[in-house]
């Protein structure tokens, strides 16, 4: 009983560990082979699985849209071009709906965010054991397939958005205007420390909420997939309980996967919309 509990815990830990490349305890550089090793690597380590998957998915997205863009013509669109045009019009409508300023970068930014996040989330729908098993057969100890369950990926994007928010806040309002916005409201100049505290939290909350929302949703979703998969792992011969567990694993993972199609799209959309809204706020002057 305790050994089974141990293997379940091992299974979960294995699935939640990234393939981390960094400095090993003995001073050489390489891939961590245990959770403790990965933890010990500190900041200067790279999650290879997150990096490779997100690069690959981003490249696929760019390649697909670039293909459509190269063949873009004003005649009757078909197939891929039609899809890409539809997607771009959809994004453009969203941008026009919530972004009041004029900025040529917002559209492409929103498009990239939506499809990149969408593609990364979509990896969640792959059967969770396939790629890790394939990788361990190739001698790779860990492989997390869904980049958006790695906070590095979500925070990476959120920081990118945050930098843009800061950049445009300062560009539109000037350094003084931006600092004024941070310190002179809502309580006027005599409440400056309080204002700074409130507005600072407000500002910092933007990237953190962006990143944690996506990460939390995807991480929790992945966790549930793992737990559902564990039910089938409890298979112990043709007993009534075993067969029931196995059958309910199939049903549950199907149900959760179908539900997850919604989550995957919704999270990508939310990330995109919030980015647009934050940048819109950065473009607006408050007086």
């Amino acid at each position: 009983m305790s050994s089974e509990a141990h293997t379940s815990a091992e299974y979960i830990r294995h699935h939640l560990q990234n393939l981390t490349y960094g400095q090993l305890p003995d001073g050489t550089w390489g891939v961590a082979h245990s959770v403790e090793e990965a933890k010990a690597m500190g900041f200067w380590a790279l999650n290879l699985d997150t990096f490779i998957m997100s690069l690959l998915l981003g490249a696929v997205f760019m390649w697909m849209f670039r293909g459509a863009a190269k063949r873009a013509e004003i005649g009757i669109p078909s197939g891929l071009q039609n899809f890409c045009e539809w997607a771009i019009e959809f994004i453009d409508t969203s941008v026009r709906g919530s972004f009041s300023g004029r900025n040529a970068m917002i559209g492409p930014l929103a498009l990239t965010i939506f499809f990149w996040v969408f593609a990364m989330n979509l990896m969640d729908l792959l059967p969770i054991d396939y790629i890790p098993l394939l990788m361990s057969a190739l001698g790779v100890p860990y492989f997390k397939v869904v980049p958006s369950t790695d906070p590095n990926a979500t925070f990476g994007m959120a920081i990118g958005v945050f930098v843009l928010v800061l950049y445009y806040s300062i560009k539109i309002k000037g350094v003084g205007g931006f600092l004024g916005e941070l310190t002179l409201q809502p309580f006027g100049k005599f409440g400056m420390p309080v204002n700074l505290l409130l507005e600072g939290v407000n500002l910092i909350a933007k990237p953190i909420s962006l990143a944690l929302r996506l990460f939390g949703n995807m991480y929790a979703g992945e966790m549930i997939f793992i737990l559902i998969a564990l039910m089938g792992g409890a298979w112990a011969g043709f007993s009534l309980g075993g067969v029931t567990l196995y059958g309910s694993q199939i049903l549950l993972s199907l149900g959760w996967a179908i539900f997850h199609i919604l989550i995957v799209t919704l999270q990508a959309f939310i990330f995109m919309t919030l980015t647009i809204v934050y940048l819109d706020m950065a473009h607006q002057e408050h007086h």
Binding site: N18, A72, P108, L109
Partner: protein
């Protein structure tokens, strides 16, 4: 799930993707969309104009047709009037001609009658003279009784 340098790599990747998308994806597709929108709008405007032109043309043709009909009616009525006039004229002329012929014939007849009368008169006077000569049994001196005879002739 440690925070590590992946964070930086992801941020850089994100920036590059956005740049690529902006440069090579968004702009050309948006341009194509705009152009197509314009093309369609132009096509629709052309169709509208053509429809309008057609309407105008049909209105114009109807007008021309109406005018032509009017003109034709006018011509017909004119010609009818003219024909009536011609007939009327002809009638008048014919009547005049007839009258003239009749008058000529009458004059001729009168002349004939006159001549016949004259002849008859002379013949009657000769007969009367011959009769009188027979009655008297002798030759009447024509010379001596000429005025008598003339009186007689005039009486007949």
């Amino acid at each position: 799930m440690n925070i590590n340098a992946t964070l930086l790599a992801q941020t850089i990747m994100f920036a590059l993707f956005v740049w690529f998308c902006m440069k090579f994806v968004w702009t050309p597709i948006m341009a194509a969309l705009e152009q197509r929108k314009k093309l369609i709008a132009d096509g629709l405007a052309d169709a509208d104009r053509a429809k309008h032109d057609l309407e105008l043309a049909s209105k114009r043709s109807a007008e021309i047709l109406r005018e032509a009909k009017e003109k034709a009616g006018e011509i017909i009525s004119n010609s009818e009037k003219r024909a009536g006039e011609i007939v009327e004229e002809a009638k008048v002329q014919a009547k005049a001609e007839g009258d003239r012929i009749v008058a000529g014939a009458k004059a001729e007849i009168d002349q004939e009658v006159f001549r016949a009368k004259e002849q008859l008169r002379t013949q009657v006077s000769a007969i009367a003279l011959a009769g009188a000569a027979k009655i008297l049994g002798r030759e009447i001196d024509a010379k001596a009784h000429n005025d008598l005879l003339d009186k007689l002739v005039a009486e007949i």
